[in-house]
């Protein structure tokens, strides 16, 4: 989404709007299938779908009212009312949810005095909305204001976040850009994925520039893709002239100078002496001396990261931490496009296909259908047009691997697509990338341009006979479009209703032509397979699941991040060895695998090996690969309800079981979480869940009950407790009250923190909470230093 222009809206005359709209229509087109890009362009321009512009579309294009209403109300990206000047997006992804995103949202609405159904402040300065997932799960809870992402936002800190944001608006930082004439002393690598940027790597980047100029040290600052260790970002690697690498995790802007000074010498002697003196003085005058970043022993700094990376195997993420995402030369120097060259020079389509069949790779998007088999179907068709679509509509809350791969390794995905296209004889390629991933869109677009310049895509690729071009389609915000038939419907300019299969898209897909739809991660594994041979790839993994799998590890885990592991590794290994165990030393309760289509695997079964089939047997599924670690303080009923409310929101609405069935399941879960349910409601819920599972027509509906079914299977006692009015973890707000206990010393801190003035206090006397006023936001618990506020079951309190 581009910057918001609504400020100017009042000033735009009717003629201006029409002229702008006409320009957009001319640029984008007039046929019915361009409706989504057209609306996106309109919204980019006017910040919402201005009615004058829409009327103009009816006049000037083939898009009619029925189609436009149908499409514009289906996708959540489109806004029909003007928003405030700045948009606050509160992430409601899984990781953020378990870390209290709802409280953060409530805190924002309270702080900004947004009431009732309104989402905009009275002065039109801010609008607020919950979004499915910003893909920065390791920084949960996350909030995005316009383009700026804030991590670890606690309910008590929202006023600071707003103030910081407004401050930054005032003082628009100037970027310094002085060029130095010194010889390059070395290189500093800095991760610039979305999450790295969210945790401040852009600031580090600016600081590196500034300080290196100041010190007169000439270094290459290289923005690299995601390293995966999201919990340790911002992370910089200092590469010395001898090629050795020193790594600094969690680096702060204030430490940059010290680090640079430590490793590099300034170009001129005078500066060197000056720097040295100033630096000493700096160090002695501040308290940082004994906690200085460069003085910490190397192993202490990076031990965590080493163990984080030890069990991993990098195929999709090969080159993590040193490949610059958009440096084509570097990609080529690191065996990039080797496979494509090999294929074009010496492989027949059949040979490519048999390699992929031999590799045994299965689709990484969720279903786990053998990729080679799918390709075979497309290849066998003799239609004149065939398409390859890269499915980058990763919508699972709690998953961000596709985003990371697209952002960090765009060339690898492009290469994978080219190879597949060659094998099936496809004529056109398309990247379908969800709207919430602007950086991924930007990088792929740039990468495609670079490839086109080198004749890696386009006419007669690499001088051979084969021609293939690739374009980009931006999704408009609908989880269901991850389902391939719905994805195709949306490309065709329709609402994302899935179609019944068969016919499969491989037989009859986009424009009724054979279409190969593959997930981002699947495509990124293809170059490896061709380079090393299918059989080599097949050596990795288990009997029925080959290769590696990328997971987004988040939730209550010490070291979250993006990991790529060989299939067959156990969940325990992932949690303990890679993730460093549960955060805060709590006990592991379960691992939620596969997001809203997956399930919860309880701790005692976490010795299960990562494998498509073993996950399915447990009622979970690989999904697209979110791993959310849940601890003893997480309520399983709440987790099930969370996922179901997501699928309920995201159901396309076509079929009865999904549209109404999931809603009725959610009604029951709501009642359970509020202690209003009866014991037999649990059976009704289970019956409904089983029927929705078998009677839904597409993947979304068929898998939506999984979170409920698995929690019912492994944690049924928690459901029963809730029916009896007890939520042991205190997550279900309606079942608990906050009460002050005898540890209270009367410091009044809680009363000051309370956003609704529900705490009555006399200094030095035990305080008390007015239960009627309390909104159960938990702020008082956070500020109390004496553990004097506790959650108690409503039921217990009534008895007392």
């Amino acid at each position: 989404m581009s910057g918001c222009n609504c400020e100017n809206n009042d000033k735009l005359s009717y003629e201006q709007i029409i002229a702008t709209t006409d320009g957009i229509i001319e640029r984008v087109g007039t046929s019915p299938e361009v409706v989504i890009p057209l609306l996106q362009a309109i919204q980019d321009e006017f910040s919402y779908l201005a009615s004058e512009a829409i009327e103009r579309i009816y006049e000037k294009t083939e898009i009619d009212r029925a189609q436009l209403i149908s499409v514009s109300t289906f996708y959540s990206q489109f806004r029909h009312i003007p928003y405030g000047q700045h948009l606050i997006k509160v992430c409601a992804g899984t990781a953020c949810h378990v870390k209290g995103a709802n409280n953060v949202y409530d805190a924002f609405t309270r702080e900004l005095k947004i009431e009732g159904d309104s989402i905009t402040t009275e002065d039109q300065l801010f609008s607020i909305e919950k979004v499915a997932c910003l893909g920065c799960c390791t920084l949960a809870p996350v909030v995005q204001i316009d383009e700026k992402i804030y991590g670890h936002v606690l309910p008590g800190k929202v006023n600071e976040v707003i103030a910081t944001f407004l401050d930054e608006q005032e003082t628009n930082k100037e970027k310094e850009n002085k060029a130095g004439n010194y010889s390059i002393a070395g290189e500093v690598r800095l991760g610039m994925g979305s999450c790295c940027q969210a945790s401040g790597s852009s600031d580090i980047y600016l600081e590196l520039k500034k300080k290196s100029d100041e010190l007169g040290i000439s270094i290459d600052i290289k923005s690299v893709g995601c390293v995966g260790v999201c919990n340790q970002v911002p992370l910089i690697d200092v590469v010395l002239q001898d090629g050795s690498v020193k790594r600094y995790p969690n680096v702060k802007a204030s430490e940059i100078k010290e680090i640079l000074h430590h490793h590099f010498k300034s170009g001129s002697l005078l500066k060197r002496i000056k720097n040295s003196i100033i630096n000493r003085v700096d160090t002695y005058h501040t308290d940082t001396t004994w906690d200085n970043v460069v003085w910490k022993p190397e192993h202490e700094r990076v031990e965590l990261i080493d163990s984080f990376l030890s069990e991993q195997k990098h195929i999709s993420t090969e080159g993590y931490g040193y490949l610059a995402p958009l440096d084509l030369d570097e990609y080529i120097a690191n065996k990039g496009f080797e496979s494509l060259k090999k294929v074009i020079a010496s492989y027949s389509a059949d040979e490519v296909l048999s390699n992929i069949l031999d590799s045994g790779i299965r689709g990484r998007g969720g279903g786990g259908f053998p990729t080679g088999e799918k390709m075979k179907i497309v290849a066998s068709s003799d239609q004149s047009e065939k398409y390859v679509i890269c499915n980058g509509d990763e919508g699972d809350p709690g998953a961000f691997m596709d985003r990371m791969i697209l952002e960090s390794y765009p060339f690898r995905v492009i290469e994978g697509m080219l190879i597949e296209a060659y094998a099936v004889g496809a004529t056109k390629g398309l990247f379908y990338i969800r709207a919430e991933y602007p950086l991924a869109v930007q990088r792929i677009r740039k990468a495609l341009d670079l490839c086109r310049e080198r004749n890696l895509i386009g006419e007669r690729i690499l001088g051979g006979e084969y021609s293939f071009d690739i374009s980009i389609f931006e999704g408009a915000g609908a989880f269901v479009c991850g389902e391939e038939t719905a994805l195709i419907a949306s490309i065709e300019g329709d609402r994302g209703f899935p179609k019944q299969k068969p016919p499969f898209p491989a037989v009859e897909g986009l424009n009724a032509m054979p279409t190969l739809v593959n997930n981002v991660e699947t495509l990124s594994q293809i170059p490896f397979i061709i380079r090393n041979g299918g059989d080599k790839y097949a050596e990795i993994g288990t009997e029925n699941s080959k290769g590696t799998k990328v997971f987004a590890l988040a939730g209550k885990i010490k070291n979250g991040g993006l990991i790529e592991v060989p299939m067959g590794i156990s969940l325990n290994q992932i949690v303990e060895e890679i993730g460093g165990g549960v955060e805060g030393g709590e006990k592991l309760k379960a691992v939620q695998v596969g997001g809203p289509s997956g399930g919860c695997i309880p701790a005692h079964l976490c010795d299960v090996h990562v494998d498509f089939d073993s996950f399915n047997q447990m009622g979970a599924m690989m999904g697209s690969g979110g791993l959310v670690v849940l601890s003893e303080s997480d309520c399983m009923v709440d987790v099930a309800r969370y996922f179901l409310s997501f699928t309920c929101e995201e159901s396309c609405g076509k079929c009865t079981f999904c549209r109404v069935g999931i809603r009725r399941m959610l009604d029951i879960l709501d009642n359970i979480c509020q202690g209003k349910a009866k014991l037999e409601d649990i059976d009704t819920l289970e019956e409904l869940a089983n029927n929705v599972k078998i009677s839904s027509l597409c993947g979304l509906g068929k898998t939506a009950p999984n979170p409920v079914l698995t929690t019912l299977k492994y944690f049924r006692h928690e459901y029963e407790e809730h029916v009896n009015g007890v939520c042991k973890t205190g997550k279900c707000k309606d079942l608990i009250n906050y009460v002050v206990n005898d540890a209270c010393i009367g410091c009044t801190k809680c009363a000051k923190a309370c956003p609704v003035d529900a705490i009555q206090y006399e200094p030095y006397e035990k305080h008390s909470i007015q239960l009627n006023d309390c909104v159960k936001c938990g702020l008082c618990v956070d500020v109390c230093e004496f553990d004097a506020i506790e959650k108690r079951a409503v039921k217990e309190l009534v008895k007392e």
Binding site: T73, Q500, G653, C655, T656, N691
Partner: protein, 322 residues
Amino acid sequence: MQIEINNIQVKIEDGETIIEACRRIGLDIPSLCWSKNAVHKSSCMVCAVRNLTNGQIIPSCTTLPTEGMHIDTESDEVKGVRKMSLDLLLSDHRADCEAPCSLVCPEGLDVEAMLNSYDKDNLEDALGLIKHAFQLPVLACDTCKAPCEKACRRRNVDTAVSIRQIIKEITEMFDASEVKEVENAVIEKKMFQSKLGRFTDGEKQRLKETVSSKSSCLHCACDGRSGCSLRQYAGDYQIKRPRYNMGSAMPVMTKENIKGQLWFEQAKCIRCGLCVYNSNNGFTFKDRGFGMEVILPEENKSNVPEGIESLCPTGALYLNVD
């Protein structure tokens, strides 16, 4: 092509779907979202059957048979799926089939129809209906405890329609012997009755402000009930009362004239989309998920084709001849 339906060998004719084959051999498969020769996308799952070859539950209306397929249409499980889909649709169907007042009248007066005539100032017909029900119209309700007024939906909004008083007014105004007896439409007491349920506060407010008929009657009876397949199947599958909480975002009791005699009542729509797929720039979907609605933008009303109401499986689209 040869397939097996409930262990009977059936030869499939060209292009035939499973439901067509089943109906051809006399199997009674219900369906709502499908209509022969109309554009459709399967959605309701009322026509569910089981493909025994792979164990899947499939919609028989769109699935094309494949050689050697084994289909089960009769098992309890298949019927259970159909029943549940009806249950689910009904839980989001906030409408009365028959008017509650007409259902409870001990004398069998079609109270709602009578009030309808009264509201249209057609007092003769109103009296004709009263005459049909009562031997002595003047004394009609004198001894009755008026269950009609207790059942009256208007009572949930503010106060019940004063049914007895209106009857008295009419009977005193005319001499009953001078008007023709008017035959009721049949009140199907034995059939399935969908129930409107309670109004929310917002709905009460809206109805109070918008319904201003002379009698204050809301006219709950469904105008499209005679052709309603949903009601028919609910009865066939022995559904007695709602299984799930009624919670619906649908705007209850909003009758909108499309053109001529064609009317649209959104709250009765099951979102099968037949009217959307079979009108060109006419009806359209709005929003998604549970809140998805079928709407007809004002500008598109003229694009609605003749006879569209015959596709509607419920009383959402109907012709009102008065």
